[in-house]
Amino acid sequence: MATASVLTPIKSRRDGIFSTRLAGGRMPLTPSPKTPRTQLMQEVGPTESIHNGNLMARFSRSVSKTNVRDSPKSNIASRPARDSPRRLDQTISEFALTGTGPRPSTATSAKNTPSRARNARSGSVARTPKRSQSNINYKAADRFIPNRTASDGITSSGAAVKLDNEQTPGRRPKSSASEGTATLAASVSVFDMGRPQTSSSDLTSTLSLEGLNLNDNNEDEDYDGAKNKPSPNTTAYQQSVAEACGVSIKQRILAFKPAPPESSRPIDLRSQYNRPLKPASASASQFRRRVLTAPERVLDAPGLVDDYYLNLLDWSSGNQVAIGLERSVYVWSAESGTVSSLLECPTDTYIASVKWSGDGAYVAAGLGSGEVQIWDVEEGTKLRSMYGHDTRVSVMGWNKHLLSTGARSGVVFNHDVRIAQHKTAELHSHTSEVCGLEWRSDGAQLATGGNDNLVTIWDARHTAAPKFQKTNHRAAIKALAWCPWQTNLLATGGGSHDRNIHFWNTTSGARVNSIDTGSQVTSLRWSLAYKELVSSSGFPDNSLSIWSYPTLVKNIEIPAHESRVLHSALSPDGQMLATAAADESLKFWKIFERKPGQANLMAGGVASVGGKESLTKATTIR
């Protein structure tokens, strides 16, 4: 029967059901009349929204207010106190004397653009005795003889620069805006003494004799209107001093002070050099086992809501598949191939999520209204309704008697389904719709993913605050899967603007690996038998990809559906994957087919997987 026309695998004994197929509406979960293998790419507009973090904003803000000292006045205020006493201590060298000359004009002081640099620099002044008082004079003159001619101004400004350099050999000879600051400041200190036109000798009465002499000298020059430039010796001298000190005279070394972010772990460079640059790009030639690329079965899923955020497919440990189609939940028994409609919700809402309990006896259904219903599948009766959410419940997860429900509001509730006051915890982390939620098999940790691009890992014992919050994804995270053979390994897949699968160590919170898949990751399932995982893709690939772990080599990519694959579920024996896609079909793929006698990877057996019987059962779906 399974020939090329496996695409419509009509088995004879199902004919009775099919007779209705062509007459109008399609029956849910009947073999699909469509040819499923066409590779037509159908553009699916990504429905999730992307929230880009606005990280940079605060940095730019902090930078913008950095230029503190813009006003020359602030320098005026602060400088005299710092500079003038030091100057008074200085002895005057001959060089200083030669350097003194013309008086600066107002042109110089007008250009003052003070900077912090000057203040820092003053430290070096102290250890350089080759200073003169003269610059103070000039500043004073500078300030108070405003009507100088332009030519005077030019020469004198040059002179002022030289003087400045003399007092701080660490500085460059070029005159620059900040030098004016010093002169201005000095002049102020002079005026404080009430002697505007005279020199710094007036500054304090404790000034040395030499100082006085010098100042006299300067004054003389001033009054002569001398326009001498600084002697070439001065320049040569200051350069030689700068060289001797190993200081560049025109620069300061600035360090970016904030400490760089800590590395998440020590790095062994040797292993890094051996690391392939693009591990994910390895070709299919490396794949080591044969993977069946044709679907085992194709069923119709009419009315399957094309919404990335919903979780409408689940496969129970009792080998039954539940699927939510618009307002109804259908249960398809893999053993018998029979379909039954389990429930139908009110017309004003729809099924947003479906989840089997661990023992396969109950189905929880989350509704668009925020209601959560629990149904006994054997009896076909509703056991209870749980309220609390006011937005749609788009994802759920069972941990024994505990049902966790994630809603569009971003809140996750834990419900103890056995008791009347069912809500036992509220988990607040996400600020946008929770669309991925997965309990670890031992129930110790819960991973949730949201439309806020956040993966949150919770400790089951401390639900008040998240254990880790991971911001690496750049799109909503719906696909979450715990590794069956390494309990603290979590795989998460991001939406269409992210396209990455990240692997996390949930004990340390570290990211241990990443794959760029190239398309929206809609679900992730680990194989139970192979060290592999399968990811289903939305736009643009609509495919299933099987990745080896930890090599991250893509074993195979199966073009699975005509439009994006929305949901997937693994059979209880781990061999078969069911996928539901926006093309309204449900397909079964035997991608993890096991060789006879091969055991599952994890030793003790995981609670969600049944014993041997279920294995044999699951291998035969009808």
Binding site: F59, T66, A117, K229, S248, L254, K257, P258, P260, D516
Partner: protein
């Protein structure tokens, strides 16, 4: 004084060139952090740039940190205030500087003095004499610049073959050599040169735009 139009052209050149050089620094920083194992390799993703596969950090904190640095660099470059950018890799255990990547920024001011308003004509002239032997460099096409940068990055990547293996427990600092009159944001403070003791220096390739030339030197600690 040059006519206004001329200085306008110069300004535009500086702007484009500063952007290009800033971008180069961004990739350079990322490459060094990746190649020298300052951050784990899985925190980096490959992007195509300069015709090469460049690794850039995915970590939000690192990205933000580098962004802060490079955005300030660009401001300084626009005003031609910095002459060197230095990345110092420091051992976390000993606090010693183990490696120092120095990028010298030479600014061409061929048609007009760099707009430092208060500088006297004489001092600018002597300065030019000292620092600008290559001012007459011919205009370069974009493709040439890109290919120069490409070969520089190839060299940086290749340099891991002769650089000592770092122990993987390192952090880094960024220094700039700025003019004494630069405007300095609060995050930046004076520092020593953080030279590597007992260092060996290797000069790498340089590249130039129409307004900047970047020379690269890596110094590293010699094995005892």
């Amino acid at each position: 004084m040059p006519p206004a139009t001329e200085s306008e052209i110069h300004k535009l050149q500086i702007k484009g060139s500063a952007k290009l050089v800033t971008e180069f620094f961004n990739y350079g920083l990322n490459t060094i952090l990746y190649q020298r194992g300052v951050y784990p390799p899985e925190d980096f993703s490959a992007v195509k740039k300069y015709g090469l596969t460049m690794m850039t950090s995915l970590d939000d904190q690192v990205k933000a940190y580098l962004k802060k640095i490079t955005s300030q660099l660009q401001k300084w470059l626009l005003k031609s205030k910095i002459s060197k950018l230095v990345v110092v890799i420091t051992s976390k255990e000993t606090g010693e500087h183990v490696e120092r990547w120095q990028f010298d920024v030479n600014i061409f001011n061929n048609n007009s003095p760099v707009p430092k308003s208060s500088s006297g004509a004489t001092s600018a002239a002597t300065d030019k004499e000292n620092s600008d032997p290559t001012a007459a460099a011919a205009e370069k096409s974009d493709a040439e610049i890109q290919s120069d940068i490409q070969s520089l990055f190839r060299q940086i990547t290749a340099s891991v073959t002769f650089l000592p293996v770092l122990d993987g427990n390192c952090t880094f600092n960024v220094l700039v050599y700025a003019d004494a009159d630069s405007e300095v944001p609060l995050e930046w403070g004076d520092s020593d040169a953080k030279e590597v003791k007992n260092a060996e220096k290797v000069m790498l390739r340089s590249f130039s735009t129409n307004s900047h030339r970047i020379d690269t030197v890596v110094s590293y600690r010699l094995a005892e």
